[in-house]
Symmetry: C2
Subunit: 657 residues, 2 copies
């Protein structure tokens, strides 16, 4: 690409602070502009601060603050160098200068995006950001809703919180209509309509999310608002809580049915169990669907699970599909999962909320958008990325299918390259937010129920939150748009780099070691492990890879030449991926299979650095070499000059339990 | 105070950016230090960014960013001037320069405080901050635990999440011991001990939080760890979820008892209903305890509520006491509430978790701490604040009682004067965190169960979170310590100012209007309303005060001379405060009493500006004048020159419904 200027070169500070002068200029202008603003507000008021004298308390404080601040700056030098191409650890890299400067600028004003009353500017920017993200994934802006959160856990929490309330809403609606002496019809999963009063509990718990919300809307037309609100509330799970709600179900329907399940692959984020436990759903209700060799949710297994749950009359609250799993960056075939739900609706009368946890991978959709907002063809995407055969149609279909997910979480603070905190929650049908709404009494409530609500706080789980975060994401999207000219370039560059690393690890001569790799990455995480014939137990194999990880981890002096991380593939959740991996070992794989309950340690490189694809020196080759060197140096004390194994190396003597 | 330098003059940027040069210097040093750090990391690596050419893509991007950034800076001028003495609206004011500079400095490194692996420096700072806050409130640092959150809602959520799991733990323990064929004794609320196997469900749900955690610890000694963990989990609410857990209770104990209640005053934050709904507890379970005329939880009413719940065999999950209510800044008499719990334990065998929601008021404890960490006497505190009779002994006792609350939430981003996001959660007995722990698979798990856990993420509800926030709070506390020399000075100054405003409103001549005030503020929020004899309905009275609020609200041009807010005191939650307020009107109060179901609109001034106590011009007098002027100008069109009421003013013609 030499000769053609690469836009990415301008978007980030750079490993040596190459673009530092620009960031400095922006920050300085933010300070000056803020000072000007302060001075322009009632300039007629006298200052409460007397002119500082050289030997007063102010001067002592200034000296003290400068000293302590310098000491903090020194301590911060012990931070992990996420910014550098040598860092391929967690999902962390550079930040865009646009976001850094905007965060700082807005922070000086300290707006609180709980309400426009305390953040007239940045709540508007947050609305813009939600719209940008919605358009990227393909949601209808006139029907959807979105907002920023402190991170992915809260966004995922809100998704399931809403899914739970939408699931149980038809039950409350049925009881409310009976109490009010009205009847109302509702759409069933097979597209027929039925009278609400004729449905049994199983049917009530198998109404599509959209139909459940249609019902909610119809109810408001069927009786005076306050009466509906009061009556609905009196039967709703949110009001009653699970204990009284369960009693209500048992009293009304005889059998309250088993607790509703949440389906997710073993690749799903660890926070889901926490979220289910917190919501009172129970972590037991999280049912792991097996994965494919690519670590994607296995669609056939999903179908079998739905069939099995249906036989047991276990309702399904939601299915969590992952777009960019935390460990492997795997992208579920969301379009196929959606087809399976449609089949379940027609064949079994069963339906549920589908949430896409795209915290990590959501920004990949930018690659598929042209600057005019239209969707690129597969050929165009491949041309942009510079390949004839990837991304695959399957990958493109799964990204396009985001538009049909009922809700999506996307973290700008991951592949959006903006500073923490910045998660985002998107809801396809904005009416769902009404089922979790609360009214903060001290913030002005807008009268317009239809329009955009200035009190974001009514519908979100958090309260006070930094408007600076909205400004940062907004400015970053303004300069680096959510299409193939903007974030699409970053995705393309890092995906190319990750696949290069995957290829290097496959091509390099590691003998007497072998590199076992997961398939080519769906996004930017490369997973692999090193094997040596003398590692004759899973414990020894894991210990060896743990040692490699430790040697390539940050320490206080940052002496590691490169930084990667590791994870554990656990059985049986990951069986679908582990088996093809081990089978590369032929008969030797048998040594490990019996012990898989302790998990298989996997090395993991997240290739997010925007310069890795074409950097000099080539950090991908450098990392490959570093892994080999570290591994060889671990072998050395174990293998005598004649090549014979020595028991003195504790790695090789690690016994399996 | 002229002549003696006021330290507060140095801590903030100042209304005209008076200390701007210092902030600029700090920010510049942060940038330089960060650039230096980048350059020192593998300086031998060539730069991936070619030297920027004047007419390349880089130069176009630079121009574009500068232009767009300038436009953002212009938009930010539409922000609300929280920093100024003329702003007395929500709980927002200046930020300390120490926190602003440190946030920016750490943000450049973008550490993620989910784990020390990605934030070696700032997770340590977060631990320090938790220790500082714990020491301020009087927790035993060797037993407690704390961390930062995105805000008060999450901190409060964690409190109730833990309280719920601690409440139900003895039930799981009882079933686990039976399954394992062991027995174990537990301490009852009357200090006697009993065998776990002999307790009925009511007794199991009335074990003190500490005794529940003793039980947890004992269990780990009674059988092998993994076995205990597995068995306990299989019976726990977190695993089973409410539906299966309720079934388990019904099957084991015949009667599962009514859903557990959460007690809070009507003054409690609106997020509590949301939290109960989300946790599956149900917002119905939030029982409002009446308030006193000072808007504090009425201790006698609490006792009556406990007695009544006990008669109905309704267990109590927690009591939420507020230290600094959001609307009025009221400080509950926590020491008395603790005494009432002790009485309930002895007389009724009933106990529960006590949480102090000190999101707003927690920093007031700094006033009671000497620089050596010891507690000031009442006389010393009064000397510091410059009064002979306040704070009252009752106030001081309630602040000292924080040390005995089972958990506390405190928001540094409120009275800590640091930028969003910065909430904090403190837990008196750190073992409670184990009942909500999750293991993120890809983050290094420390082996030391006893020591400080580097993986904060195991025990908190959020995942990724900004280390910059920890650096900001840490630096601020470093320069402005949590004692009477530091934050105590800010509290003292703003409390004095708030009481001055209260006095001004009481002393000023508003005739023909009357100012009705809530009692002197416990902290820094002054609540009042304006009354005119022609406002002959509650709707008219409310509308009149709404008009005053609107005239003193931020608009796009920031033309309001002063900014305040308003809230609604709702009946019956606030009856204890509304009645004494209205009774100042004598017989006229009857005009309003019958309509109180619509709530009483109250004007609200939060006096948080650190300079208001001694500023020139005096903004407290200015605000008093502004309120009078606004009110009089609203009267004018309604009252003809001869003083006769004219129906033409819509405020006066507002009819009660």
């Amino acid at each position: 690409m030499a000769g053609s200027p690469n836009p990415l070169h301008s978007w980030f500070l750079g490993p040596q602070g190459e673009n530092g002068p620009l960031l400095r200029e922006l920050v300085e202008s933010a300070l000056q502009s803020h000072f000007d603003w302060r001075r322009a507000y009632h300039p007629e008021d006298a200052s409460p601060i007397p002119a500082l004298r050289g030997n007063g308390a102010g001067s002592r404080y200034r000296r003290g603050l400068k000293k302590e601040f310098a000491s903090l700056l020194g301590e911060l030098h012990g931070s992990v160098p996420f910014f550098h191409g040598r860092y391929n650890g967690h999902m962390l890299s550079e930040q865009t200068m646009a976001s850094q400067a905007a965060y700082f600028a807005a922070m000086l004003y300290n707006p609180n995006n709980v309400s426009s009353e305390v953040a007239p500017v940045t709540t508007r920017l947050e609305g813009d950001v939600a719209k940008q993200l919605s358009e990227m994934v393909g949601y209808d802006p006139s029907r959807c809703w979105g907002h920023l959160t402190s991170g992915g856990t809260i966004a995922n929490f809100e998704a399931l919180w809403i899914a739970r309330n939408v699931l149980y809403h038809p039950v409350a609606a049925r009881l409310a209509t009976r109490a009010l002496g009205i009847d109302i019809s509702v759409e069933l999963p097979d597209d027929t309509r039925a009278s609400l009063s004729n449905l049994d509990l199983w049917q009530l718990l198998n109404i599509r999310p959209g139909a459940s919300l249609d019902l909610w809307e119809k109810l408001w037309l069927a009786a005076p608002g306050p009466l509906i609100e009061r009556t609905l509330k009196s039967y709703s799970l949110a009001t009653l809580g699970y204990q009284d709600y369960s009693r209500q179900l048992a009293a009304e329907f005889g059998d309250e049915l088993p607790a509703a399940a949440v389906l997710a692959a073993g690749t799903s984020h660890y926070s889901w169990a926490k979220i289910l436990a917190a919501l009172g759903v129970g972590s037991n209700q999280l049912r792991f669907v097996p994965v494919t060799r690519e670590c994607r949710m296995d669609p056939d297994a999903l179908w079998r699970e739905i069939e099995s749950l249906t036989r047991k009359r276990i309702p399904i609250m939601a299915c969590v599909s992952t777009c960019g799993s935390t460990e492997e960056g795997a992208v579920d075939d969301l379009h196929t999962l959606l087809e399976i739900r449609a089949r379940a609706e027609w064949e079994l009368g069963v339906t549920f909320h589908i949430h896409s946890d795209a915290c990590y991978g959501g920004y990949a959709a930018a690659l598929t958008r042209a600057p005019d907002g239209s969707r690129h063809s597969a050929a165009q995407v491949r041309e942009i990325i510079g390949s004839s055969d990837w991304p695959s149609d399957q990958w493109l279909d799964s990204i396009a299918a985001l538009a049909k997910a009922d809700s999506i979480s996307i973290d700008p603070h991951k592949m959006g390259y903006v500073p923490y905190p910045a998660g985002a929650f998107l809801l396809k049908d904005r009416r769902g937010r009404e089922l979790v709404a609360t009214d903060p009494p001290y913030l002005a409530i807008a009268s317009d129920r239809e329009g955009e609500q200035p009190v974001i706080g009514r519908f979100i789980f958090e309260g006070s939150k930094p408007g600076a975060s909205a400004a940062a994401v907004w400015m970053s999207h303004r300069m680096i748009p959510l299409n193939s000219d903007g974030h699409g370039r970053i995705i393309a560059s890092t995906m190319r780099a990750a696949r290069k690393l995957h290829a290097f690890l496959g091509a390099a001569d590691f003998s007497p070691l072998r590199v076992l790799r997961l398939p080519e990455p769906d996004l930017t995480i490369v997973c692999f492990l090193l094997h040596h014939p003398l590692l004759t137990s899973l414990r020894a194999l894991n210990a060896f890879n743990e040692e490699i990880y430790r040697a390539l981890s940050p320490d206080e002096q940052m002496t590691a030449p490169y930084i990667i991380t590791r994870t554990k593939l656990t059985a049986p959740a990951y069986d679908g991926a582990i088996e093809p991996l081990l089978s590369q070992l032929g008969d030797d794989a048998g040594l490990y299979r019996s012990d898989l309950v302790q998990g298989l340690t996997i090395l993991r490189a997240t290739v997010m650095n925007p310069f890795s694809d074409e950097a000099e020196p080539d950090h991908l080759l450098g990392l490959t070499d570093a892994i080999r060197e570290v591994a060889m140096s671990l072998l050395k004390p174990a293998i005598a000059p004649d090549g014979v194994y020595s028991a003195s190396n504790p790695i090789f003597s690690a016994k399996s339990t």
